[in-house]
Symmetry: C2
Subunit: 355 residues, 2 copies
């Protein structure tokens, strides 16, 4: 159960990084790799996506301790064509594999217009947006996808066999931050949880109960099966992502990966694409044209005058850009988990301020 | 208003092609180009997607007659990188541009693992699936997208500024037909129309009424605004497709193209990607792995024992493969439109059988 009103804690980026890196180095991860992981988690917490921030670290550490994630992988980058490569992650941390894979795709696209790097033998990589934005920060269009543990049933079925397989596209702009779509292919479980807490019904089409029947009861939904976005459309998207990331790269696919809460070694597959707009026109012209499109969107009459029309990823960037003095805001339930984690791992507790 | 019970007419492929080609040749389209267009329409009618079959031809002919579509374009294929090209369609028929663009992408991917061809100065191209399947029929993974006339408002807005921008991914398999996802990014208007005819409500989240308020009344929805799939998710997808097809290629984007029912010259943008699985593994191994995934999906316990779990595109392929003796089935309302069109264009009426 999550609380809806929480105290917020302020932590400096420096302290955040110290805590995170200490924990990873303690279980045998190199300084370089630890830094890559923590930077990706920091980005999520800065954007207010706390479900994918430092909150994830205890799970990574546990997976390393159990031998499911290899803290000292020998990463291989295998040439598969003039601008295609395959990275074998040797069961290492997902963020590390993904960072190197996207860097390589960006380099290929700088030289040849497009770069594609598939990844196999990997693990949970955090948010897809982080890697797509590595590309857009270099004036490329970044496309990222991954498969994941079974969570979605095919339309007409009542047992999950496909992941919700998140994917992201990020595009460079003139407006101070990229436009970034980052989505999984089912309705967010968090949204259903909030409806349950508020005692509200959920719309038809969001979930099935444990008997496989459509339900509008949020509590029944949480015990049942969450449906893909747009039903057969979301099922189709998630299947295609599994084919492009799992089947194509040599990773696990379908229900081969252990369940979300299950122990066991994973072999996640990812795909990283970097496309250089300069293959088609100058980056200036591309961004100017995109600005015209942004203006069209921003000037659409609003349904409610008090709300704003956002671009994908804009809200997350506004949150990140509003942070002051290199300090990060963490809600209580996230911060509590970090404190108890530090206790467990015998890591010096961070300095913090509650606000 | 569409009728739900209709007589079906049987027409030979030969007669279908004769009627379609006659009409196009009559307005100045070359035999070669006419053939390309009609083959793409035939494929849709064979798959039972009659909204994208011969039904579309009168609109194409009208657009040519009005000078909005150029029947004799000078198509240019411009090199943009070692495996990237841009096709300028010179305002020609969308299917013609798309056929040549995908053929080129397939050729590039045979040689270099991946091929990308952007298209500008184009028009309505029929179904995205048709071109994605040109790739999968050659053992490549085909990815196709297009922008379209304004139909979707950004989340929070009440005026359409983005198209529903269809896209498709098609993958070669061992099962006698490809797996093909083909989707637009809004709830299908046809589904709402059927609810209206049956006097049934629609789920929350499908549409807004003409005041921009959420509605469950199907008739109000048809006069209002149809919402993107998964709300902000569908909005994000449709925006990204417009960026990749419209902004990036030099075509129109956002609300620059005339409305669906409006007259006027269009400049649609498309993007065609062909990815060769053999860059990663032999095509046999790829298809064997995909077969494992298909088996996992097909063996999921069903919600209702009387329904089947389908792969994306499977139902359409079953319809196509069930046709006998090179004959095509057309529902009455489609066939009537073709007959009256033949009258108007003074084309010899086709031989047919009603069943």
């Amino acid at each position: 159960m999550i609380s809806l009103v929480e105290t917020t804690y302020l932590l400096s980026n420096e302290e955040y990084i110290r805590v995170g890196k200490s924990a990873l180095i303690q279980v045998g991860v190199s300084t370089e790799h630890s830094d890559i992981v923590i930077q990706s988690l920091l980005d999520s917490d800065q954007k207010g996506i706390h479900t994918h921030g430092l909150f994830r670290l205890p799970t990574y550490i546990k997976q390393i301790s159990r031998g499911n994630i290899n803290p000292q992988p020998i990463i291989q980058l295998i040439e598969k064509g003039s601008n295609i490569k395959l990275l074998d992650g040797d069961s290492g941390l997902g963020s590390v594999n993904s960072f190197y894979a996207m860097k390589e795709a960006i380099k290929l696209s700088s030289e040849k217009g497009i770069g594609i790097v598939g990844v196999r033998n990997s693990n949970h990589f955090g948010t897809a947006a982080y890697y797509a934005e590595l590309a857009s920060s270099q004036n490329k269009i970044g496309i990222v996808m991954t498969n994941a543990s079974p969570a979605i049933a095919p339309t007409g079925g009542k047992k999950p066999v496909l992941g919700n397989n998140p994917w992201s596209i990020s595009v460079p702009t003139h407006i101070g931050h990229p436009i970034t779509l980052d989505m999984a292919n089912s309705v967010a479980r968090g949204k259903i949880r909030i409806k349950a807490l508020n005692g509200e019904p959920i719309p038809v089409g969001w979930a099935l109960n444990s008997k496989g029947e459509p339900t509008t009861d949020a509590n029944e939904a949480l015990e049942g099966l969450i449906l893909p976005v747009g039903d057969h459309k979301g099922y189709g998207i998630t299947l295609m992502v599994d084919i492009l990331t799992g089947v194509l790269t040599g990773a696990y696919f379908g229900n081969q990966n252990p369940g979300i809460e299950e122990d066991g070694k994973r072999n996640n597959g990812h795909l990283f694409i970097s496309l250089n707009p300069e293959a088609f026109m100058s980056i200036e012209e591309f961004k100017n044209r995109l600005n015209e499109l942004i203006n069209m969107i921003k000037s659409v009459p609003k349904i409610n005058e008090n709300t704003e029309i956002y671009l994908p990823g804009e809200l997350e960037w506004k949150t990140k850009l509003s942070l002051k003095n290199d300090k990060i805001k963490l809600p209580e339930r996230i911060f509590d988990r970090i404190l108890s984690f530090c206790h467990e791992q015998q890591i010096q507790l961070p300095d913090y301020v509650s606000v």
